[in-house]
């Protein structure tokens, strides 16, 4: 029973902390740019406001348009059951490994692109085509980086990788591990629509990707999509931090270790959020045609990670 409560706790943490993480990144970014910026809890207010509004749906929209917000939200929430956020051996570890996690996230991306095409608005189609270009380039990289991580630990099971890293802390220094981390970090920027790839703060039609696809949504469906995007960012960051630096993740269950694990998770997320913010403040958005080059770099990193994990023992 207790382990399933743990899964519920992970779900709850993802739901509640994700908008706060985005709010923190926005606040830090505003401060770094010399603006005052909205408070960190602004995304919660935005979500509450959107959930309260009426929904406006185009008469041309098919069932895909209606189903997508729920699908994206649900698939992201399922991921939160599989990623070791606060405890390492999770009861659902048997149900899915890193590969399932990645493809659940890609399932959301796929339906989002379909929904962008569904209402036949020109922006939606543009955003969908861009998103698919990036997803097609990011996917092989993610697969390779996963195998790089998995080859080091001898398993693609997330709980297993984290437990193995905790048992052999020197493995975090191996080049395979670090390069897989770097590759996943770049892919995270691409998948979550962060700065060198997509500008999360813009509504300028020529540059946006994620915003273009959800342009037709309003009210509660929009809230679900935004919330899912926040959760995706949260999950990617916690996945990265717990894979590379798993200390603090509870291995045995007691109130004390769990409280410590939650604190450690928040601490690691704040550090990563600061890193992302500084990176985003220093970088300009890449031209769309240079995005494949960036993902090429990430692909090479993943390739090197996997060769060095396999060939250097």
């Amino acid at each position: 029973m207790i382990p399933y409560l743990l899964e519920a706790l992970q779900c709850l943490l993802t739901l509640t902390l994700a908008p706060g993480l985005i709010g923190l990144v926005r606040l830090l970014k505003a401060r770094l740019q010399g603006r005052r910026g909205p408070p960190a809890w602004q995304p919660y207010r935005d979500l509450a406001k959107l959930l309260d509004k009426e929904r406006v749906v185009s008469t041309q929209a098919s069932w895909i348009f209606h189903a997508t917000p729920h699908l994206v939200f649900a698939s992201t929430l399922v991921v939160s059951l599989l990623v070791p956020l606060v405890a390492a051996p999770l009861p659902f570890d048997r149900a899915g490994d890193l590969i399932v996690v990645v493809y659940l996230l890609l399932l959301g991306t796929f339906f989002l692109a379909l929904a962008g095409l569904d209402t036949a608005s020109p922006f939606g189609g543009m955003g969908a085509s861009r998103e698919m270009t990036i997803a097609a380039l990011a996917e092989p990289t993610i697969a390779l980086a996963i195998f790089g991580m998995g080859a080091g630990a001898g398993s693609t099971n997330l709980g297993e990788i984290v437990a193995r890293t905790l048992a052999h802390p020197e493995a975090t220094l191996s080049p395979g591990h670090l390069m897989a981390f770097a590759a996943l970090f770049i892919v995270m920027l691409a998948e979550c629509g962060r700065l060198p790839v997509d500008n999360p703060a813009t509504h300028l039609e020529l540059t946006m990707i994620h915003e273009a696809m959800i342009l037709e949504y309003s009210g509660p469906p929009l809230a679900l999509l935004e919330w899912a995007a926040h959760m995706k960012f949260f999950l990617f960051l916690s996945l990265l931090s717990n894979l590379v630096c798993p200390w603090g993740v509870a291995v045995e269950l007691s109130p004390r270790t769990l409280a410590l694990a939650v604190l450690a998770l928040v601490g690691k997320l704040v550090v990563l959020a600061i890193a992302v913010t500084v990176l985003e403040t220093r970088l300009a958005k890449l031209r769309l045609f240079r995005v494949p080059e960036l993902l090429g770099v990430s692909f090479i990193l993943a390739l090197l990670a996997i060769t060095s994990s396999f060939l250097v023992r």
Partner: protein, 219 residues
Amino acid sequence: MAPALFSRLVTLASSLVLLSGLAVLWRHSLAAYIRTFARQSFLIVLAILLIAAQERDVRLCVVAALVLVIKVVLIPRVLHRVQRHVAADFEIHPYVNTPLSLVIAGALTLMSYAVAAPVVSLADLPTRGGIPLALATVFVGLFIIISRRSALSQIIGFLILENGIALLAVLATFGVPLIVELGVFLDVLLGVLVMQVFVYRIRETFDTIDVDRMKDLRH
């Protein structure tokens, strides 16, 4: 330092050296190439110091100091001056475009693993994990030389190749005799100075440092 940790750190340093070689394939600005080369040389200094600390070898510390002075400070300074002087900011249209270059570099790395496999399996050095990576750096340097057009990028390619050889030497032998190292350093330094003169001459003759234009000399 525990041998396992030492060999991991050495492998890590070698892969960072290779990565900074790959960074040249992605960047477009010549100033960034030069900075990347300086960074790569600094990583080699760290690798040499690591081995020196493990082996308690004073000679290797001297070698590290020489690399620091010549490759991290002196040569980048010379190259920056050349770059400012010929007013060339960007590598224009390399023969191979960026994504393909990266894929080729990945293939070269795999190849160097394959080539170095017999050496690695024979050697029982703690540093053997870095040998294929150093070899890959040599190949990447060579690839930069043949795939870029501007004379300055080709010099950078040569220097990266040389860095790969230096790393290979220190990984495989824990330091060749000091006199050999001194000879190599002087060689590199003089090579860069001579090439600098060539860059100036090319620029004077063709108004650009695109070596492709040298084909015009045939007519």
